[in-house]
Amino acid sequence: MKLIKNILHSVRPLFEEGGKLRAMLPVYQAADNFFFSHVEETTCAPYGRDPIDIKRYMTLVIVALMPAFLASLYFFGPRVLLLMLVSYVAGGLIEVLFAIVRKEEINEGFLVTGFIFPLILPPGIPLWMVALGSIFGVLVGKEIFGGTGRNLFNAALVGRCFLAFAYPARMTATWIAPGPEKWLQLPGSLAASAPDAVTLATPLGLAKSGVMTAPLDLLVGNISGCVGETSALAILIGGVILLLTGVANWRTMAGGMASMTLLAWVLNLIWPAQVAPPGFQLLAGGWMFGIVFMATDPVTGPATLSAKWAYGILIGTLTVLIRSYSGFVEGTMFAILFGNICAPLMDEVVIRLRIRRCAAERACS
């Protein structure tokens, strides 16, 4: 640590006012912040009750993502690391460029986006697509709206949605059968189309043709699917971490889970051939990952508490409907993106209603 500190200290003049690399100051600050958290202690009132900042927020999300990440490493092998590296480098490049142009600090928002993005992609996806999607997501989904904290849509989902429509065949045919043996087949298992890689349809795809996957496989994660969505159990552990630390709001999750269960139960009773039962819907596909890690994003979701309920319910309902009746196999991505669209309007309605109620109470008293 001392060595890094000395290096950083010795190059500091280059980045200061008048230095040769003044324009690259954000890069320096990011390095400084990464190794030595910027601590400023308050010496007089008012004191912060809890000094939570973007950095701690994002770090907690990364911690919560760890179980799902480790599960995906186990099931899909070392290639996951490669996807993650490409996602970070490509998206990070855009992030750094914008920080330099805007003369801002590079903040930790991208840590989570860059981490989540490869987790919602098929494991056999070509690396250039990961780079393209990451760049598109960060650029169009986030930076042009003003960067971290100002994005209207989940940047990772924008990138994924772009890839899904631009390269539909590659996004739906690159599923790999899970299995830890991939660690023994290095470096062959790193390639996109490894000769001995077995492709396997996802549980939702199989369900369309009437083949149901065993619930235990869905829970543990021994199934085909996107990188991070494989193990429902690991995602749930992450969800508990998010809820305990207060990073995610339980209302969105509860609303989503409840509406999905209820709607799938009712529709399954009426049209059992078309709509899968609620237990399967909850565990299969990207639903668990989406509702735990993406729908609870405080930036793209609504801010008021009652709107959070409505937001969760909307996402759960749409996911069931799109999965069952549309031409797509999975609907979580569209449902959350649609929720992102409606979130500001929901807040507006809730606030208006509250103002009206307050005005009415005042008029009565």
Partner: protein
């Protein structure tokens, strides 16, 4: 019962799977111009719902009872526009006389949407798809609701974006079109759900 399910399907398809704004990109000009605030877009949206529902029904009558018997089907573009403009003018006058608050809410937007291409688009789609009278009305009504939903969501988003640091060259219509594009991506998820 069958007619009823058919009408419901058309209604929901017009809102979600075939949203006139986000899948056909019609009615873009007023969508870009008047989506800055939720309050004004409610007014404009209501005016569009009202006009679309009634002009599509009116134009259906005009087309099948006037133009077709007189073998003037090729004049439909001009006639439809005249009907829409006349309808809007008459309604505006009536509303002004009958209800002051309604006029204040809707009245100023009515002349604006005379030239909204989504209204003409709905009238032309109803001919292409061979709708009956009831179906045309429901289709017009649903399309209006879909248009209103889109502009309301956009207004909510733009209100929320007031303090965003959008790059200079993208301010205004540029960023709005990009948002509309992402909205359209999300609406693509509904495709194939209901066919009309």
């Amino acid at each position: 019962m069958e007619a009823f399910t058919g009408l419901t399907a058309i209604f929901f398809a017009a809102i979600f799977t075939n949203n006139i704004l986000l899948t056909n990109y019609l009615g873009m000009c007023s969508f870009l111009g008047v989506s800055r605030e939720v309050k004004t877009s409610i007014g404009l949206g209501a005016a569009v719902v009202f006009t679309m529902a009634f002009t599509s029904a009116l134009n259906w009558l005009v087309y099948y009872y006037v133009l077709i018997p007189m073998h003037l089907g090729h004049f439909r573009f001009i006639v439809f526009i005249i009907v829409i403009a006349a309808f809007v003018q008459v309604v505006e006058m009536i509303i002004e006389r009958v209800s002051e608050p309604l006029y204040n809410a809707l009245g100023i937007f009515l002349p604006l949407i005379t030239v909204n291409c989504a209204i003409l688009g709905v009238c032309l789609f109803m001919l292409i798809r061979d709708y009956t009278f009831a179906e045309s009305f429901i289709y017009g009504f649903g399309s209006g609701i879909g248009w209103m939903l889109a502009i309301l969501a956009m207004a909510g988003i733009r209100q929320n974006m007031k303090r965003s640091k959008v790059p200079k060259g993208l301010e205004g219509p540029g960023i709005t079109l990009i948002i509309a594009g992402i909205m359209a991506l999300a609406f693509m998820g509904f495709s194939g759900m209901i066919n009309i």
